[in-house]
């Protein structure tokens, strides 16, 4: 059983709002492959991860925002010394993460 899906189901059955962040694409080097996911509940619990720890705090904020607004979004995180990206990955890869509120 996928532990993240397990948690999402548990939280949803408890009538909590939940956001799911999923790695959909990895360019160059990235620690975790497509399909890796992290879930966040409206009361701030977290299950799973989407990187080696580099972008989780930023994704957490986005997830909380998605829970609030219901707006899904596709995020891109890249190399840390590139100013185009607010949060960086030390590994030099680029990861694309889709964040959505779970209301399906």
């Amino acid at each position: 059983m996928n532990p993240v899906v397990e948690k999402v189901a548990e939280w949803r059955y408890a009538e909590k709002k939940v956001a799911l962040a999923t790695v959909v694409k990895v360019e160059r080097s990235g620690p975790l492959g497509p399909g890796t996911s992290m879930a966040v509940s409206e009361d701030g619990q977290v299950a799973g991860s989407v990187s080696g720890g580099c972008v989780e705090p930023a994704v957490y904020e986005e997830a909380m925002d998605a829970i609030e607004s219901g707006k899904p979004r596709l995020l891109t995180y890249g190399i840390s010394d590139d100013e185009a990206f607010g949060v960086g990955l030390t590994c030099g890869g680029i990861i694309h993460i889709f964040v959505e509120r779970v209301d399906w």
Partner: protein, 285 residues
């Protein structure tokens, strides 16, 4: 509370039934979601035509347990990129068959389980094929290896490790293995065992091309001595078969670690996604 897709996804994972989740990540209906199984589908990513294209692509990818991005036109057209759908496969764990219930098999069964395989150990000798010796195996089968393999489920993700190094068992089971679409077939033995076995397989009518499919002697050359070390060498070789990497030291090559090696054009995931879409397109034609 609307949890139908989530509830069905959760249930499919709990029962280890194959299921794909498709999410529209770029395009008009951002966040559109479908659940696809080999038999049915639910949810929508926008319109009937697009849904139909996504179901086809998802089933193709699900067959191979592949995950990745696929692109379509607004009404599901191929070779258009207006819409991007992320398709995630949750296939049952791939199978690892281990033939020959020796100590090496016990270590291979353990590392197979560790890597996420459903591990099936088979030996004709009931005294060796026991739960005590293989606590981590999902199944322990007392049967003639070749007869068992002829009726056992095998697909492209399946790994077959023949560790008997007894010609009476390994020649027939390797012949049976060659008749399957298994992604990896390995056979244990010294150089001498390997040469004898190769000669016997050729006598039995196996072609040189078929012999190339067999990793023999099994495993990467890391100097393993113990059963555990040998299991690591076998596990590493199995991974290189899936990824297409050479198995050398990262310290001795340049380029991104997770990306394919320089001579490969696209990543396995990208290739998978492309193949999934191509297979689906072929089926549609």
């Amino acid at each position: 509370m609307v949890v139908s897709i989530l509830a069905r996804w959760h249930e499919a994972l709990a029962t280890q039934s194959p299921v794909a989740i498709a999410t529209l990540v770029e395009g008009p209906r951002l966040g559109g979601k479908m659940l696809v199984t080999p038999e049915e589908h639910t949810g929508t990513v926008g319109n009937e035509d697009l849904d139909r294209a996504v179901v086809e692509a998802a089933r193709g990818m699900l067959e191979g347990g592949r995950t990745g991005m696929t692109h379509f036109g607004p009404r599901g057209q191929r070779r258009m990129e207006d819409v991007t759908v992320f398709i995630q496969s949750f296939a049952p764990p791939p199978r690892m068959y281990v033939f020959g219930a020796i100590d090496f098999a016990s270590a291979v069964a353990r590392i197979g389980k560790f890597m996420g395989y459903r591990v099936i150990v088979c030996d004709a000798r009931a005294v060796f094929a026991t739960r005590d010796r293989f606590p981590s195996a999902d199944e322990i089968v007392v049967a003639w290896p070749d007869e068992f393999l002829k009726t056992a489920p095998v697909d492209g993700r399946t790994v077959i490790c023949v560790l008997t190094h007894d010609p009476k068992f390994d020649v027939p089971v390797l012949k049976a293995a060659l008749a399957t679409p298994a992604g990896y077939i390995g056979a244990m033995g010294s150089r001498r065992t390997h040469n004898n076995r190769t000669a016997r397989l050729l006598e039995e009518g196996v072609t040189d091309e078929e012999l190339e499919r067999i990793s023999s002697p099994i495993g990467l050359d890391i100097g393993s001595r113990t059963p555990e070390e040998t299991a690591v060498a076998i596990a590493a070789e199995i991974i290189t078969f899936r990824t297409g990497h050479s198995g050398g030291r990262l310290a001795e090559r340049s380029g991104p670690i997770h990306a394919p090696e320089p001579d490969t054009a696209t990543s396995p995931d990208a290739r998978d996604a492309e193949r999934g879409a191509a297979e689906a397109a072929a089926r549609e034609r």
